[in-house]
Symmetry: C2
Subunit: 350 residues, 2 copies
């Protein structure tokens, strides 16, 4: 029996997290903030890789503007690849794959701003994927849906490749509610959570086949990267010339040997203040109160302050989020409208 | 015909304005804040005395802790009496009466934190009161009620003494809603707004008869007052020994020659955030937005910030008040519950 291939966690930290404004900002986005725990989302992501069999130190691919945050919340031994500009996930993962090419790790690609409450289930799913990865499959982890969510892409599952591992029949764009409801009722569809496991070689081979320009630009950027200890700064001109695309569109939907491990692991992308209310610890009145805040005769509210003290009296089903310079108030259920507040803010500052 | 007795406005500025927390604070209470206008309530009160016939420079009776605020918002020529401690309105007015005893002014006593939108009506009411004041009557101005308010005392009107001037039949404590509704339906009752006109001699004579200890303490405090230009600081030990009571209880309910001029002059005591919403300029969606604040798809809200920028999205009938260190959120109609927030704040700081 062959030796177990080492797994290198590759944590993608380039997101901006605008849906959690005003706490999440460009200079200090969601993944670096403590939302569901005393630890930040990034710290929780690092904690989640503890205990994976044959795992190496992680590779972080992040925004160069966040280098100080990553160093502050990261750990010794990590490799840090600082993107000079944002080119979406496929090029970001390409940088990591090139850094890992020599050792041919299996790359466990994870966003840095998700929650997984059942880490044992996650680790078990990884172990189910491993034999397929050794055979060159690109594996994605699909979240068993429990609601007809319209904010996620879905994966239609095909034949069983091994116990708990299915071939991917196709990727489904974010559906409307009717389609989401139908998929939930039908079964055999899971949410695309952006978590992947594949060998660096397999990913680079898929890029060579489907995205040669992207691969060439990433190779050029890495060949001329500045190195400072474990920190790599890919060449800015080369990476700027790289086509921007998601791994889903650029690779997964085009490659042939794509598998999915369905998993139920208490996953959430914490994609809105409403989602945080659902996830957060709540009092007997269904209030989630975080930071310098106080609820009086109030029910069903999410109240959070990292700034001035907030007192909510006699309210129901509100979201109140305060920072030192911006305060957001909206009813629960309307947290998608945060974008309207952000747009109005941009207008104010024009 | 005797010469017209001069009128000296006496502005009482000792209030704490806790019902407008968190904007109104002990160190910077309501009367020194711009709420309904670009001018503060204190500045509006000073503006309201402009144009009164035969008026002298005003006397301000205020809290010694607010001396800097009064100087900043006051005007040249004013006399400032700084109370070393709070003893309610009857002793405060006694200090002013003693300061005006030599010239025997008619004292126009006014709180510093009310709104009057029809100043001409106020001035006309003063002119109606003047002949009675010259005859030694204590005159109060009663606000014609337009709602069964339970937050004010009422005055039951008796015989007509002159055109537009009625004898006071009796003072009525803050009523319950049934009683307030009955008084409104019955007519002949007005709100006690704490605005008075009487000669200094008449007030001091009433004190001598009904509150000799209060008068003696005030006389002692003023006899040993420190003077610095137009600023008087009554002796602290003497004033501390003065019985504390309101002019209504201590004098008006006991004196015999008490008259009332009913008046409709756009008066409000701006006694709550709900009252401010009623008074404030509003947009087409019935939102009053003051300071660093922004309403999106929102109706019927009062949103005010003197601190971080506030964005309210998709809300209805909320009060959102922000300062640099405290934020208050509550539904409209519940602004009396501000006291609960203040009590909780006191608990936090214990």
């Amino acid at each position: 029996m062959a030796a177990l291939q080492p797994i290198t966690p590759v944590i993608l930290s380039g997101g901006a997290g605008t849906r959690l404004w005003p706490v999440s900002r460009g200079a200090h986005p969601k993944q670096f903030i403590a939302l569901t725990d005393v630890r930040t989302m990034f710290e929780l992501t690092l904690a989640r890789i503890e205990g994976i069999d044959h795992a190496t130190a992680p590779v972080i691919v992040g925004n160069a503007a966040h280098a100080a945050l990553i160093h502050a919340q990261g750990r010794a031994g990590m490799t840090l690849i600082l993107e000079p500009c944002a080119r979406n996930t496929a090029p970001a993962i390409a940088l990591a794959a090139l850094a890992l090419e020599a050792q041919d790790s299996a790359m466990l690609v994870m966003p840095s701003d998700h929650v997984v409450t059942d880490v044992a289930a996650f680790h078990a799913a990884i172990e189910r994927a491993r034999p397929l990865v050794a055979q060159g499959w690109l594996v994605t982890f699909g979240i068993e849906p429990d609601a007809p969510e319209t904010g996620f892409g879905y994966i239609a599952l095909g034949d069983e490749l091994a116990e708990g591992v299915r071939q991917v029949a196709r990727f489904v764009e974010k559906p409307d509610l009717a389609r989401a409801t139908a998929m939930l009722a039908q079964g055999g569809h899971v949410w695309n959570a952006g978590i992947f496991l594949f060998s660096a070689h397999a990913y680079l081979a898929a890029l060579a086949e489907h995205q040669p320009a992207m691969l060439a630009a990433a190779q050029d950027a890495m060949a001329r990267a500045e190195r400072d200890g474990n920190t790599l700064r890919p060449a800015a001109d080369a990476f700027a010339a790289c086509p921007a695309d998601s791994i889903d569109y650029a690779v997964m939907e085009r490659a042939e040997r794509v598998a999915c491990v369905p998993v139920r692991m208490g996953w959430s992308d914490v994609g809105s203040w409403d989602a945080l209310h659902t996830l957060a610890a709540k009092d007997a009145q269904n209030n989630a109160v975080q930071g310098a805040a106080h609820a009086i005769e109030t029910r069903g509210c999410l109240i959070r302050s990292d700034g001035p003290h907030v007192t909510v009296v006699g309210a129901q089903d509100l979201i109140v989020i305060a920072t030192a310079d911006e305060i957001l108030v909206l009813p629960r259920g309307r947290s998608q409208d945060v974008r309207k507040a952000v747009a109005a803010l941009a207008d104010r500052k024009d």
